[in-house]
Symmetry: C2
Subunit: 201 residues, 2 copies
Amino acid sequence: MTEPLDFYFDFSSPYGYLMSEKIDAVAAAHGRKVRWHPVLLGVIFQATGSHPPVAGASSKATYMMHDFHRSARHMGIPYNPPSRFPLPTQNAARAFYWLHGQDCALARQFAHAVYRGFFVNDLDISSPDTVLDIAAGLGINRDQLATALQAPEIKARLKDECEQALAAGVFGSPHVIVDGEHFFGADRLPQIEHWLASGGF
Amino acid sequence: MTEPLDFYFDFSSPYGYLMSEKIDAVAAAHGRKVRWHPVLLGVIFQATGSHPPVAGASSKATYMMHDFHRSARHMGIPYNPPSRFPLPTQNAARAFYWLHGQDCALARQFAHAVYRGFFVNDLDISSPDTVLDIAAGLGINRDQLATALQAPEIKARLKDECEQALAAGVFGSPHVIVDGEHFFGADRLPQIEHWLASGGF
């Protein structure tokens, strides 16, 4: 089969960032493309009754903050713990979908720039100005994007994408679907590779 | 460093079972031993305010039941989904600690037999009779063990082990500690191998 993989993520998700740095190359090694779907974990958690994995000051929350960084080192990916975490990501996600309607390769570049801005350069990606700055750095028209971020149709688009993700069974970030098979978490990347190489196992 | 690894698990934990089939060999490849610590996840979750990962009928719960089986195939480990799940495991854990006081190699064999009984042969490991049968199959005196399972000191021992695990920062199963570094989940086995090979990364 040669259907694209579907990659669901929130721009505030550290494991989503780790997956974003690897999934295209893993898919390409098996002749596959990837469709990227930024979603809002707040919406997903509310609808599924799930909990954010790092809520509170528990030993598990402490562990996970440590594990983000160690997992990045294990995977050979740059990572600097953001000083503000987690952050709302609707502006970044709306910008992605607006760009995607015009130039899907540029939207992919923008997604990488947002993730690296947050998890390497400690940018406040919740701020519309920061989102516009990141876009402008890629040659995108700042004023057009600023207008688009306020447009009802782009807000409706993000809402619709979250609903479609829920309908597809997405409950967290990163969540990858390969030929109907669901993989949750950056740590499932070896299983995704195994699945692509074997056509299932 | 050549300190043993500490491996915490609940006998009802599928990912704990997967880790139990691999951790000794991974440690041995780097000249390390492993101390096994069965604990009760109910006690751990109550104390840490965590939630069982597969509570309810959510899309996440459905995913995890599927992921247990797929992860076992990925790791090359036999797995048959138990018909009763999860189960209380205090009898199996108490039997382990009683045996461990007499013959730690036999206690390890018993732990493997309990896990395989549950996750391969669908035994009801919550039942004292089943625990006694598994032990008898390894040549352990059934009557002595039956008496030990009722002894206040062995009940206190398990309680104490759960408290020590909590004090060490354990919040789930499997949870492995290597030279003070914590690894949660069977999917962290590659990171444990990386850590042992490099002395940290």
